[in-house]
């Protein structure tokens, strides 16, 4: 009898103790647009899926993608750039779920005009035609947004001087000094600039040109070798997205909103007021638009910034989340 008892006790113990959490890693920016993963972490959604997620923080979109390619992180979540598509086109990255989108009514990216240019008559996004434009880098999300604006307003971007200034602080000082006429800046930077009178805000990118700004992605190696992990990660990610939606988009539960804001403030190291004012729209089911991704790839290819060999269909994996299209 005794051995059976011991075996039963051992089995009971094994059931009571949760299996050791599987370690995985995510490269991410300290921005409010990364909110869902911060919420999934602090609300315990990753842990509930048996995942121990280590965050690797970066300061620009590019290194976030490179970290996933180099194997330093298994997942990445950030804005989509021409550099991202060039890496993905070589078969190094796959988009598996959506992140932030520019949507009407969401004040995420501001069209800004220097005071000098404003006085000279640049009063609306349509007036950006032929004006010098400050951005971080060639192929950045800012570059794409001015491209979308040019397309919508029907002006020729090749007649504007595009100033690649490498960083947002450089963009701020160029705009302040009037060395650049226009820029697109994140609201966390744009609103304080406007309040200090350093430059004028003349519109928001979400109102003019909605687009799929960010995505969750992984490497083909992780996708093939650890499919179960990817599935669990996305389940937890979706719960994070739902929490984000409940807290900031549905706004039903004030306590949930306050708690979520606390978590975002902790990770982004920003004032709660600034975060709340510049929250991006995120699809409540973490869906993304494959059509919009294809449009972005086509735009960069037409501009000569993405290789002709990049195939938008190869980049996206639509088996984890429903398609928006």
């Amino acid at each position: 009898m005794r051995p059976t008892w011991i075996a039963a006790a051992a089995a009971l113990l094994a059931c009571a103790q949760p299996a050791a959490a599987e370690k995985t890693s995510l490269s991410v920016l300290k921005l409010a647009s990364s909110g869902p993963v911060f919420l999934a972490q602090d609300l315990g959604h990753f842990a509930a899926e048996g995942l121990e997620v280590e965050f690797k923080f970066f300061t620009a979109a590019q290194p976030v993608a490179v970290a996933v390619v180099s194997g330093d992180a298994e997942f990445g979540v950030t804005g989509l750039t021409a550099g991202f598509y060039n890496l993905a086109g070589k078969g190094a990255l796959k988009i598996i779920a959506g992140q932030s989108r520019e949507e009407p009514g969401y004040k995420l990216s501001a069209y800004m005009v220097s005071n000098q240019a404003y006085d000279a008559g640049v009063r609306s996004p349509a007036d950006f035609a032929g004006r010098s434009f400050a951005m971080t880098q060639v192929g950045s999300t800012f570059h794409y947004m001015i491209g979308l604006l040019a397309e919508k307003k029907g002006f020729d971007l090749s007649k504007s001087r595009l100033l690649a200034l490498q960083s947002i602080p450089n963009m701020v000082s160029a705009l302040k000094g009037g060395q650049a006429d226009t820029a697109i800046l994140p609201s966390t930077v744009a609103v304080p600039m406007f309040d200090r009178g350093d430059a004028k805000i003349v519109g928001w990118a979400g109102d003019e040109t909605p687009w799929q700004l960010g995505a969750l992605f992984t490497s083909p190696k992780t996708l093939e070798g650890k499919r179960a992990t990817v599935e669990r990660f996305i389940r937890a990610y979706k719960k994070g997205v739902a929490a984000y939606d409940l807290a900031f988009q549905k706004k039903g539960d004030q306590a949930a909103t306050d708690k979520a804001l606390d978590i975002l403030a902790k990770y982004t190291e920003q004032q709660k007021g600034a975060i709340a004012a510049g929250l991006p729209y995120i699809d409540p089911e973490a869906r993304f638009s494959a059509k919009d991704i294809a449009k972005q790839v086509a735009y960069w290819q037409a501009q000569g910034q993405a290789d002709k060999t990049v195939d938008a269909k190869e980049i996206v994996v639509t088996s984890f989340v429903q398609s928006l299209d």
Partner: protein
């Protein structure tokens, strides 16, 4: 009969081996191409030499290469001329005038190790985002090595030659022109060799900010776009420029220092 002594004094004499450099380069590139062709090196991490050559050909055919190289060379020319001539004058003053040396040498020592790239934001404030801030970045980077090379070149002119000229009552101006300057020329040319390479390094840094054309801007945007073939093609162009500058300085050395 004593045995003829073998000549044993030939060690470490550098002989000109014309082909070794070409063969070494060829072997490295062939091994690199082979590892890419065999699939050992992923194109994401290391593009193949053939891919880089294709990127270079594309750049040359589209006219972008000529536009970028001429934009960068114009910047280097202005920045280098300003920085090198100022460095030469300052170095001569350090070498010739005791007061200038006492006052100037600590200043040079204090300012030389500052990375000029760190001053880029300041240059943008002072000179704007146009060409002057790029000239300043290159010029300041070139100034210090040039000043130091000139100063030590002057310092190494044999004292006996100067004393001899003085004892023949040669006027000071003539001593400077006919004894000190030719004597310091090897040092000055070495300074030009180093500072020309520094100018090539700094043009990439200078073109980080708001440069529409230029080989540095091209390399940076290729990096931003993760187009590694283009990036390495740009690096090859920079290397070719460096080789050209080195060759030109060697020619100048052979011509100007023939009297040695």
């Amino acid at each position: 009969m004593a045995e003829r002594l073998r000549f044993r004094g030939g060690g470490f004499v550098i002989q000109r081996k014309r082909h070794a450099g070409w063969i070494a380069g060829f072997v490295i590139i062939a091994a690199w191409q082979a590892s890419s062709s065999l699939g050992w090196a992923s194109p994401v991490f290391l593009p193949s030499p053939a891919g880089i050559a294709k990127a270079l050909a594309g750049l040359a055919l589209s006219g972008q290469l000529a536009r970028d190289v001429s934009a960068s060379l114009a910047r280097i020319l202005v920045g280098f001329s300003l920085g090198a001539s100022a460095g030469l004058a300052f170095g001569l003053a350090l070498g010739l005038v005791s007061h200038a040396r006492a006052a100037g040498l600590p200043i040079v020592s204090a300012l030389f190790p500052i990375p000029k790239i760190a001053l880029l934001p300041l240059f943008i404030l002072w000179f704007g985002i146009g060409e002057p801030s790029k000239w300043a970045t290159i010029g300041l980077g070139v100034f210090f090595p040039m000043a130091i090379a000139t100063y030590s070149g002057v310092d190494q002119v044999p004292r006996t030659l100067i004393r001899m000229a003085q004892s023949f009552d040669v006027p000071t101006a003539a001593i400077v022109c006919k004894v000190i300057l030719p004597g310091a020329l090897p040092g000055i040319l070495a300074g030009i060799r180093i500072s020309a390479s520094i100018a090539l390094i700094l043009v990439v840094a200078a073109e980080m900010i708001a440069a529409e054309h230029g080989i540095g801007a091209f390399i940076l945007s290729a990096g931003n776009l993760m187009r590694t073939e283009d990036l390495l093609a740009g690096v090859c162009v920079l290397s070719a420029l460096g080789l050209t500058v080195g060759w030109a300085v060697s020619r100048a050395e052979r011509r100007l220092l023939g009297w040695r």
